[in-house]
């Protein structure tokens, strides 16, 4: 098990604007400037952190992944995509509680644009934190091939399975808690798993399986490498 506090995340205001929809069109200077201001504030406050656990003794069966004495009902789609997995990484990544409090304060001030920008910064921050986690575990488990990341709530893996995933983590992992409805708090948090194994081949991204793919901005961003 390893917990990492992120020291450096390189986020640019233009990247945030891309995530707000400005894919090819340049954002209005007013929006870009406000994004820059809020991003600077956020980066001084936020303490993103991730934690991961490498689990061995993985058994895949139909719609379930067994790890040690735990069973995850990941659903048939994800279990199929994990084919060949012998080692499993379970992870949690978060923009952190300090960021959550900052975002709450922005929200209280009642400006819709500021709130939207702050929310997008949070999404980008936790996204970057998750990417750093993924790079770290890939480096650590190299040269084992790996799957993409999968999270409860996507591709048929029921969100209620968050409880099982968090049960495999140390208590209070990254200061992220689960609400009764399995919502992670701080809200800007991501959890999930990545499969590793000599025989792992399938690298389908969960975006490509999502039924919202036609309208999803995140998918468009990924396709454009933005």
């Amino acid at each position: 098990m390893e917990t990492h506090m992120i020291q450096e995340i390189d986020l640019q205001a233009l990247t945030i604007c891309r995530s707000m929809g400005f894919l090819e069109q340049e954002p209005d200077p007013m929006i870009l400037e406000r994004t820059q201001q809020l991003l600077e504030e956020a980066m001084q406050i936020a303490v993103p952190v991730f934690h991961y656990e490498v689990k061995d003794s993985v058994v895949l069966a139909d719609d379930t992944v067994y790890i040690e004495d735990k069973a995850f009902r990941t659903g048939k789609t994800i279990t199929r995509l994990l084919a060949g997995t012998t080692r499993l990484v379970l992870f949690v990544a978060t923009a952190g509680m300090a960021f959550q409090h900052w975002m709450d304060e922005i929200k209280k001030q009642g400006d819709g644009l500021d709130t939207f920008i702050a929310d997008t910064i949070g999404s980008c921050l936790v996204g970057a934190c998750t990417e750093q986690m993924e790079a770290e575990v890939i480096r650590k488990l190299a040269p084992l091939p790996h799957t993409n990341r999968f999270s409860p709530g996507y591709c048929g893996w029921n969100l209620s399975e968050q409880k099982g995933l968090f049960a495999c983590m140390p208590t209070g992992v990254c200061d992220v808690t689960l609400t009764e409805s399995c919502l992670m708090y701080p809200i800007k948090s991501v959890s999930g798993l990545i499969g590793f194994g000599e025989q792992v081949k399938n690298k389908v991204h969960e975006c490509d399986l999502c039924d919202k793919r036609a309208e999803c901005l995140q998918r468009k961003l990924r396709k454009k490498n933005l």
Partner: protein, 212 residues
Amino acid sequence: MANLQDLYNAILNGKLEQAVAVTQEAINEGISPTEIINQYMVKAMEEIGARFEAGKAFVPNLLLAARAMKGSLELLKPLMRDKNTATIGKVVIGTVKGDLHDIGKNLVASMFEGCGFEVINLGVDVSSTKFIEAAKEHHADIICMSALLTTTMMYMEKVVQAVEAEGLRDQVKIMVGGAPVNNAFAQKIGADAYTSNANQAVQVAKQLLAAS
């Protein structure tokens, strides 16, 4: 003399201060609020909505336009009350119980306000009781519910059932939205409509009210 085309442009481009200044000038000159709103402000919001649908404007543009529109409407509202020109409709909106996500819901609320609806924003983690109390208290035309989780979207059905049990179903339309929600789900739980973005929500709300 107030140049109302400047008001149109100010709202379209999200310039709050300019929109408020031109609106005040127009009020001082005795131009009717109905003319200011219908001929310029609503048209600017329609244009930004159309640009959004065409992929030429984005959520921040909508929010800026809605903010400018709201600023101007604040000046006009007292005059509208005197002349008994009511809002387009009253919307009670909230993120359902168990869910704390509100960015999309607040965007929809801003667009509703910007487009002349009266909005009662109940926040997040809203129970069916709160939705019903607010709908009764404010004589709402529409209840709008949002959820971002597959676990919490199921609560929307409870709200629909509670609205029916209270005998309000004929008086209030129900709209739903949020990432895991779709049209089939909306139909299944007995909602009147699902929309996938803030601009559509306003358009569909207008259609629902016009048809009722």
